[in-house]
Structure formats: structure tokens, C-alpha cells
Amino acid sequence: MEAQYWWIIGGVLFVLLNTAAGLIWLERRMLALWQDRYGPNRAGPFGILIVLADTLKLFFKEDWIPPFADKVVFVFAPAVVVASVLMAFAVVPFGPGIVVADMNIGVLFFLAMSSLGVYSIVLGGWASNNKYALLGAMRGASQMISYEVFMGLALMGPVILSGTFNLSGIVEAQRGMWYIFPQLLGFVIFFIAGIAETHRLPFDIPEAESELVAGFHSEYSGMKFGMFFIGEYLGITLISSMIVTLYFGGWLGPAFLPGVIWFVLKTFVFIMVFILLRASMPRPRYDQLMEYGWKVLFPLSLLNLLGTAAVKLFIDK
């Protein structure tokens, strides 16, 4: 039992970090494909060794801490994003029994960990002592905190339907029907909130390279920047796997493939949607983003919660 536990932890870490690195290559290739280009195609088969080259380059870059920065916090911030996202993966059920920590409050743990990710942006932007970084950090903080509100509310739909906070339990409850059908609105809200939570395009307002240089990580270089980078791709993977777990039946699928494969395939589809979004969406203005969140998505998620609860009560009676 003990040995199997370590295997799961090691395997999950190994697969996740490699996925995050591979996503860098995948994203560049897919963006290129959708823009009628080739993308990196020189190093290795289909250019996949570009990941290795990029990583080596990042390691050899000067790891510069600006003299005006708050050194301790500056070093601490990039670690937070990776750590919090990896912690959130602890509760994700990759397959039947393949989960690091099968907590009975899995959904809450996920929300808590993704909230902790805000600290990385705020601290990174604050410690950089740079106006662009600070602006990016402020935007990031308000964006992520306000979108977390109805991310949590949207998550309550599957929780009400399945009657458990345990993610494996939620997957098992979807045997009859995936929650995408009763929870279509909740899925859309969760997906949009997830994009904002990972501050990916079109909601990459904390970075907004056309306005804020590179936003909260303007002053970061070398492997510290790499940590933010990896953290972003891990975030995409996390949100995609949460979408799959909560709305698309997790590891459930026809029996000719093992559950883990189904999970990976479904997650992969949503990662592709994230990349497609980046290829096709313009970035909204900051006030448009906040308005959209509070005036449209927030009431919608409350309505969704109300409706789901009412229907659930009606059926149970």
C-alpha cells in the first residue's frame, strides 16, 4: 500500500511536469497551425526538442534579481504558483484509485489552492518594485479574486447533484449522465472563470504584454521566469482536468480503453480549446473584464445555483 502510494505521487509529478513542458511546444505548434505557419519544427522530430533547448537556455540565463527588489519575496513568489497548482493536483482523480489524496473536501481544497495562486502574482508584482509589475499584480489580484467567487458558485452545481465534495465521488455520480447536460450553464461559467483564473488569453490582463511589458513578471528572468511559465501551463492542465472531472465524467468512458487514458484524452481536448482561445480571441479591456464578471457571470452563476438546488429538491421530494 505504502509503495503504491509513492508510485502514484511520483508518477503524477513526472507526468504533470512533462506535460507542462510539452505544452510549451504544443502551444507553439498549434498556434502556428492556426495561423498558417509551422512553428518550431527544426530541433528533433516535429521540433519537440525545442522544449529541451528552451529549458537549457533558461538554466543558462543570468538569474538576475533587481537591486531595487524585495529579495526574499521576489524569490518566493515564483515558487508559490507552481507549488499551489501542484498541490491542487493532489485531489484530482486521474483514474479509478489513481489519486494522491482522496479527500472528502476535494472541491474545497482545489478552490483553496487556486486562491493561493493569487499570492504568487501579487507578491511577484509587489516585490519587483516596478510600476508595470505592480499594475499587473493589481489587475491579477482583482481579476482572480472576483472570478474565483463565481467559479466556486459554479462548482456548487455538480456538488449539489452528486451530494459530495469528494472528486472521485463526483466522477462516480456521473455514471448515468455527465454533468455537462444538466449543468451546461455552470460549465460555461466555470470554463470562463477557469480561463481568468489561469490568466490565459483572452483574460491575460495581468500580463498584457502590449500595455504592461510583461505585467507581474516583467522583472523576472532565467528559471524564475520559467517557474511562472510552467505554473501557467500547469494551471491550464489543472483547469482542464477539473472541467473533465466535474462536467465530463472524469475517467468514465467506454471500456475498451482504461480510465486514465479517457481522462488524459478528455483533458487534452480542453487544453486544445485553451490554445484555440488564445489563437482567436482579442483581449478585453480591464473594466470590461470586471463588468462582465460581476454583472453577467455572477448573477448567472447564482441563478444556476438556485435552479440546480430547486430541481434537486423537486426530484428528491
Binding site: 497551425l33 492556426w34 498558417d36 505557419r37 509551422y38 484555440l276 489563437a279 482567436s280 480571441m281
Partner: protein
């Protein structure tokens, strides 16, 4: 909202479009015939140098990258003693080509001139001279100009009449 979904769909359809990229080192982009690339010194149909060392190219050059020294052969032809173009300065504007009265200096459709050592970008006359007439085949300066050289006196050039003896016109 629907316009966003539509644009996502349209971008997705680009998956099946042809890619615009030229895979450069293997697949070269077609260059136009008038592409202003590497500068060369051309020869006339008889294989002689066209350049007469008039310095007009060096004067026209906005970045002063051409330097040359005129010399004269025993048969009366002028030629550049040395001719040097510093391609690390050259901006490929083509003014030298426009200034040249003998069509000697010409810009070719070739841009692959990269070097690891900057000094290698300084081309000497033997690097610049090509065994071709370039864009003006059949043109020979000394055959159309009224300049006397060995083997061709005044009045013997193409479309040229013999010089008039002005004293014979006296009343």
C-alpha cells in the same frame, strides 16, 4: 458571444489551410529579377572589365562603402586598380548602379552573404568581378563611346561618324 464562437470556429478551420511559410534553407523564396542584393562588377561581351574607374558610384554611395582607385592600361583603357565594397556598411540602395555610366556595377538577386567574421564582408575586386554581362548583354562601353583606345580610333565607334576636320570648313 456568437461572434466570438464564430471567430473561434474560423480560426479552427485554418487547421486545414495551406501554410504560408517557406522552409528557407531547403526551399528558397523566388526573388524578383530586379532584387537589389549582392553587388557585382560585370564584364563586357569581349570579357574585359566594364568599370572605367570614374568614381561616380563611390560619390553616389550614401554610406561611403565603395572605395576604388582608377588606373590606365597601356592601350588607353581605364580600369579600377583596386575596387573595394564594405558590405557590412552597404545598405543595398542601388544608387551605385544608377550612377554607373558603363553598366559595370550591378546589384544581383542574391542575399545569402552571411559571414562569421565581419572582415570577410569587405569584398575586393576579385570577389566582385563576375564572368557575366549582367542585365545588359551586348553592351561594350568602348564600342559606343567616342574615346580613342588602342585598336579603335575616334570616329570608329558604333553609330559614330569620323571627326570633322574643322579647318577644312574654313572659308
Amino acid at each position: 458571444m456568437f461572434s466570438l464562437l464564430r471567430s473561434m470556429w474560423l480560426v479552427f478551420l485554418h487547421m486545414f489551410h495551406k501554410r504560408e511559410t517557406y522552409q528557407y534553407p531547403e526551399e528558397k523564396a523566388p526573388l524578383p529579377a530586379r532584387w537589389r542584393g549582392r553587388i557585382a562588377l560585370t564584364r563586357d561581351p569581349d570579357g574585359g572589365e566594364r568599370c572605367v574607374g570614374c568614381y561616380l558610384c563611390a560619390a553616389a554611395c550614401p554610406v561611403d562603402c565603395i572605395s576604388l582607385q582608377a588606373a590606365e592600361a597601356p592601350d588607353g583603357r581605364r580600369y579600377p586598380g583596386f575596387f573595394r565594397i564594405n558590405f557590412s556598411r552597404c545598405i543595398f540602395c542601388g544608387f551605385c548602379e544608377e550612377a554607373c555610366p558603363t553598366y559595370a556595377i550591378q546589384l544581383l538577386p542574391d542575399f545569402e552573404m552571411a559571414e562569421y567574421d565581419r572582415q570577410n564582408l569587405v569584398y575586393e575586386k576579385e570577389d566582385l568581378l563576375i564572368n557575366s554581362q549582367g542585365k545588359y548583354p551586348g553592351y561594350n562601353y568602348y564600342r559606343v563611346a567616342g574615346m580613342a583606345i588602342a585598336g579603335k580610333d575616334k570616329g570608329e565607334a558604333r553609330h559614330e561618324e569620323p571627326p570633322v576636320n574643322v579647318r577644312s570648313l574654313l572659308p
